[in-house]
């Protein structure tokens, strides 16, 4: 394997619907942005692509990836599609990484989109629920918010996590997004507002859950030689990992915790794992990515995290999987203020616990506030991480509020199903 660099990226505004653009045009807009952002980079330099979009139902078009390749003028270069539910974007990023790391391509475009606004929200929920077992789970009342609600009920039962702690995640991510013009639903919220929003599946309200979105994102990955040729401020991909778990949440085992280097078996002696409260696929992805990047204690060695917060509850669960805090501590971790940006006023008071170092989680606003056009989401995270590490947030968001000073190392995390496919990638300033 050879080193791989991210040399440019672009995204479109995420919105409920973009009726003026079809999926090809959305990707083209993001691609144009990425080309314009690195002087000298042109489509000639791209020698292949990977396309990510989740659902053929949303596009009503098979081989949509081939149509994007065609529209961008990249034919007859190699291209393929990857798909893995909510993790499609993260898998696409890693697939493009593999193309460059293996030497097969020198410069690979990862391009993703989703067009979810073409059906009503409840039909959209049905399309998404088709990514649960259609023999056993979907017919019982297939609804992802219902599945995540059951998971967090168990998390609350095991660990004492509260709905107020979940509401604080919602407040954090929506407030961060006030400074991100790409975000779909920025807002200043209170715990009361989150809790009194429409109840969707107890205990998750409308403001605990991300929205249906349309949008596109692209990432350009390149070999060291290509990165040097174009100059600019490339960022190195230093770790990739991925993991899986049972499609049916009911089938998850109740066994032993997969340990990270800074954890011991004794601290989890009484924990039945993963059960339905944790994501062992996420833990596996993190473990592999940390091993490759040489990370021993993620809470101390990362400067920010962009993770897949389709639900406030899944952000809390994921902080534990990533080892930012121990299993069971996700709620207290939020209370401590550690994952909040230090320079924003969230209207919250924190517990004052200094058990965990400050580590902003979802400074962009995450899926909760940016939106979740599935195939684009994992690539959007890569683009925000890239801008953080370049120190160019001010240029791209036209506001420096979200720029983490001296950010050197970031983590992106993409997640599918009830934890069915999960990817973790580590990006570093060079």
């Amino acid at each position: 394997m050879r080193p791989v660099y991210m040399i440019s990226g672009g995204i479109t505004k995420f919105a409920k619907a973009h009726p003026q653009s079809d999926f090809r045009k959305m990707v083209a807009d993001a691609f144009e942005y990425a080309l314009a952002d690195l002087p000298g980079l042109s489509r000639d330099a791209i020698d292949g692509s990977v396309c990510s979009y989740f659902s053929d139902h949303f596009t009503r078009q098979l081989m949509a990836g081939a149509m994007v390749q065609d529209y961008l003028g990249l034919d007859p270069k190699p291209s393929r599609r990857v798909e893995g539910g909510g993790a499609t974007g993260g898998l696409c990023f890693q697939s493009a990484w593999e193309s460059v790391a293996s030497g097969r391509l020198n410069c690979c475009l990862a391009m993703g989109f989703e067009t979810m606004g073409r059906v009503n929200t409840w039909k959209g929920n049905e399309f998404i629920a088709l990514a649960s077992d259609t023999n056993f789970d979907f017919p019982v009342g297939g609804f992802y918010s219902g599945y995540y609600a059951m998971m967090v009920q168990r998390h609350m039962h095991e660990f004492g996590t509260t709905v107020e702690q979940m509401a604080k995640v919602s407040i954090k991510n929506h407030a961060n997004a006030l400074y991100n013009p790409y975000a779909q639903r920025p807002g200043k919220l209170t715990i009361d507002e989150v809790r009194s929003a429409l109840m969707v599946a107890t205990p998750l309200t409308l403001l605990d859950i991300c929205q249906m979105s349309e949008g596109a994102a692209v990432v350009v990955l390149a070999s060291e030689e290509v990165a040097q040729r174009f100059g600019g401020t490339p960022v190195k991909v230093t770790g990739v990992g991925s993991g899986t778990d049972a499609m049916r949440m009911a089938d998850r085992p109740h066994g032993k915790v997969i340990l990270l280097p800074h954890e011991t078996e004794e601290e989890y002696a009484d924990l039945k794992y993963p059960g339905v409260h944790s994501f062992r696929g996420g833990r596996m992805a993190a473990k592999l990515a940390y091993e490759m990047a040489g990370i021993g204690n993620p809470g101390e060695e990362l400067d920010f995290v962009e993770l897949h917060d389709a639900y406030t509850s899944s952000e809390i669960q994921t902080c534990e999987d990533l080892g930012l805090c121990r299993y069971g501590e996700g709620g207290s971790y939020v209370d401590s203020g550690a994952p909040f940006l230090p320079n924003l006023d969230y209207g919250l008071s924190f517990s004052g616990s200094e058990q965990w170092p400050r580590l902003p989680v979802n400074p962009s606003g995450g899926l909760l506030a940016c939106g979740h056009p599935v195939g684009a989401t994992g690539l959007m995270q890569a683009v925000f991480a890239f801008w953080q590490l370049q120190g160019t947030i001010g240029k791209h968001l036209r506001d420096t509020t979200l720029q983490i000073p001296d950010a050197r190392r970031g983590l992106i995390h993409s997640h599918a199903g009830t934890g069915t496919y999960i990817t973790v990638s580590i990006l570093e300033r060079v």
Binding site: D137, F138, G142, P253
Partner: protein
Amino acid sequence: MDKHYQLPETQDGTVLFNTDPIIQKYHYEIDYLHSYAQDSPFFVGLSQGKLLGSHCTSCGRRFATPRGICMECGGKTEWFELPREGRVHTFTTCHFGGEAFLKETPFTLILVEFDGVDTLFLSRLVGAEPEEVYIGMPVWARFIRNSKFKPTDVYFVPR
């Protein structure tokens, strides 16, 4: 040859939602021949008032759902009958849902745990108000008489 030929036109219009850009409404539906294949005995079981799980003949693990191959050791499994009584492992009441289930809201989903079984079973709980449901609540499987060969042929009620 007829150089004046014109295609015959029909009266069925197009439902236009918008003119700039043009947005139109399509309807599509299909008949699909779906086979439960190797999982079929589970659905036959439901029609006979039985819940069938999978028992691994190599490592002895018991799964509360059909799994032809053991997820822990890769061994072959055989069918066994699950107990009719279990407990609520976790639950939620859905006030919204996918379009197909909107008319059934609010409905309560539960994962059921059974004594001596290593995994859970997803079902609906009826006969309890949302605020009456709790983790550990004893529940009992009941079967519809006119089997539809769907996982909703079984549901749970408070015991």
